[in-house]
Symmetry: C2
Subunit: 455 residues, 2 copies
Amino acid sequence: MTNTPEDRTLHLNAFLMPIGHHEAAWRLPESDPNANLDIGHYISLAQTAERGKFDSVFLADSPVLMGVPERRPSGKLEPTIILTAIGAATSKIGLIATASTSYNEPYNLARRFASLDIVSGGRAGWNIVTTAGDDAARNFGLDGVPAHKTRYQRAAEFVEVSTKLWDSWEDDAIVADKESAVHSDSAKVHRFDHDGEFFKVAGPLNVPRSPQGYPLLVQAGSSENGKDFAALYSEAIFTAQPTFEEGKAFYDDVKDRVAKVGRNPDQVLILPGIVPVIGDTEEHARELDAELARLISPEYARAQLAERFGLAPEELDLDRELPEDLPSEDEIEGAKSRYTLIVQLARRENLTVRELIARLGGGRGHRTFAGTAEQVADTIEHWFRSGAADGFNIMPAVLPSGLELFVDRVVPILQERGLFRTDYTETTLRGHYGLPRPDNQFVVDANIRVAASAT
Amino acid sequence: MTNTPEDRTLHLNAFLMPIGHHEAAWRLPESDPNANLDIGHYISLAQTAERGKFDSVFLADSPVLMGVPERRPSGKLEPTIILTAIGAATSKIGLIATASTSYNEPYNLARRFASLDIVSGGRAGWNIVTTAGDDAARNFGLDGVPAHKTRYQRAAEFVEVSTKLWDSWEDDAIVADKESAVHSDSAKVHRFDHDGEFFKVAGPLNVPRSPQGYPLLVQAGSSENGKDFAALYSEAIFTAQPTFEEGKAFYDDVKDRVAKVGRNPDQVLILPGIVPVIGDTEEHARELDAELARLISPEYARAQLAERFGLAPEELDLDRELPEDLPSEDEIEGAKSRYTLIVQLARRENLTVRELIARLGGGRGHRTFAGTAEQVADTIEHWFRSGAADGFNIMPAVLPSGLELFVDRVVPILQERGLFRTDYTETTLRGHYGLPRPDNQFVVDANIRVAASAT
Ligand SMILES: Cc1cc2nc3c(=O)[nH]c(=O)nc-3n(C[C@H](O)[C@H](O)[C@H](O)COP(=O)(O)O)c2cc1C
Ligand SMILES: Cc1cc2nc3c(=O)[nH]c(=O)nc-3n(C[C@H](O)[C@H](O)[C@H](O)COP(=O)(O)O)c2cc1C
């Protein structure tokens, strides 16, 4: 894929939130409220996305029970388990799992992703997150979440160690010579003895190098620390951008940071989220949107919002705007960029708490869009052609119906306009995104060694 | 299943070592030397075992690259990934994965097993191991393996925390009432704030209680600490017992320990390993056995054996017996029971190092048996009827052929003799083993609470 504006095409990722991204989706008559635990449901969603030639499916994750059990289906299955099952029932679509760098060990996680990449034939991706929130920390021996900056430092070292593990077997280490009784060549299997601030890991990994070398590295934090991290390590970025202007500014900012650290900006793809509510007519779409808003129980959402601001729920009046004196982003140790986004959204549109809740309930700050398939395609094309996105993270309000509508109605329009593939041309996740397979850091060393020993 | 000697039947587990349990199996002309990384290979092995009505398949694991890469296929796929893929391609057979309590966090592991239990419809099992060896420790920030006793203490607390996590959702916590907007009942989802010597975990798990309540708990260490641990926590025990006398003594010892801690000995199943090398005739079986022994490269095995004894490889003469002055089991911090087994085997049969290597290369200390299908069935029946085993861990020397022979030739004999099921009567792993679904520790508490609040 070249990146001249005329012939480049966009990328689509399906963000699978079990019953839809709208928090009240489970209450619709059409919804199975226990689909969050039904592996068949996930498989069928992924098959629909593959029918639509999506680049990938994606699962969010946090090692904690999120929110009040009353509010919505909060139980979940572990993402690498879901994606393994999906991988067995699909053949092309990429499989991106979120995993936390704050609450895992590199050796364990690296081998799980390498294994997923092997069993899926090169379709694994890792959404690298640092995990905000004290509740998650309390499941891992801590009393509260480590500082934001510390989390990103640990994340950086975690990724460094992981790439060492994934590179620890050279691609041609396996010889499998029955006659000479040599299965693999020790000289091409590297123990590296990493000894850093957060981790001490000897290696080598017990999984040989996988089809993609290693999983596609995805990132999804948009704070200053988050953007710097993304510039250094990520190959694709998920982000919540509620307006075109914010989306365009984010895009330019991040591509700039990527160039500044000496990487190729074309090889870091920016994928804002969009929550499309699609109707046959605009009015029909708005009706579904309003029906979903009506089904939200504002109390749970109010409590969650208050916690984000460090307030008691009663301090937020449902029918007034947010209080004036909220903390600044600097004072937040949790999810910084999401915090700022929410405050700005409420202030900009003078939303009452109730209205804000309705907006967040739909897409948690991502761009929500109720309209016809044509209108959704227009928005996507506009962002893409104006340099605010390399593709989109599609977050249907209701699943499976929202994804089916997108695949059956929006995708054909994008294909007609020459904006999206009509069939897969590649077999790996990096292949779909037009990204190269990474070099092996230890092979470079080996060549130098060979050259050195030859003199 | 009742446990009167007359009508009880035995259990069979297929221990899937990729290309077979014999270390030289990969060198046979029939073997695919890279099957260790081929998910299709594992699926087909499991389907063969399911055709044979086996209770379960099992995968060993250690978070480290084991042995010299030259010696045999040492790369592996992570077990819960393999078993998820197997689960999707089978419908009845149990899925037992090994995972280390020394190098995991309970929250992460508990949710993975709960997820596997849900996606497989109640077929997950966990082989709980503490992981011997300094090499594994060096992948997790340590310089060497923690003391044997400490490892088992951590294992005990790990299992306690895990059962709290698995029980943290009561079975009827999910209401899914769309009308009243109540998805689940918080009063039945328990935060428990465990605060122990090794772990501090708040809970609840983010996975609701799974079909089996929690995975079948399996254990595989046979030291004194290991047997005490098994008596307290395990529901099935894998063990290496090279002779009938040792097997019988182990069986009586463990059942006794189980009774002493107040559990029902019938609910802890003992499954010794057997490495059958099956031939049409006894002579044919012995030929295959000899051919495999011939394919071993003794140098790698000698180095590994020397390390176990804390010696340099040169200190072991291939054509002499083991040195006299080896350490006692007390001085070993790694795999205690396996160490003792190896020394006793060598001394009892006056084996040279070369002969010992040939014996270990076949089954690593498990009972190896070259013979006809009838002879294999006789051995199994003898151990079972004489109270030395509740079933067997079948460890074919060569895969897939060894498992196919067992299923096609040995299983029918066991069925004819009324010793083994002719079809599945249950759908869960615990069901196959005739074990009850565990009670939920928090429901007991809740009943007391209800009673208390009623007074
Ligand atoms: C589309 C999208 C998906 C995300 N998924 C997760 C997730 O699954 N788990 C998580 O901990 N954070 C996730 N995040 C990132 C959080 O929003 C992130 O923790 C938060 O923004 C904090 O990062 P920051 O402080 O750098 O902004 C996601 C973000 C986006 C835009
Ligand atoms: C059939 C069988 C399978 C085993 N699988 C593993 C394994 O996968 N990983 C592991 O660390 N230990 C495994 N073990 C246990 C080791 O042998 C154990 O770590 C060793 O015996 C130490 O325990 P002990 O010191 O209590 O004997 C297995 C044992 C048996 C009998």
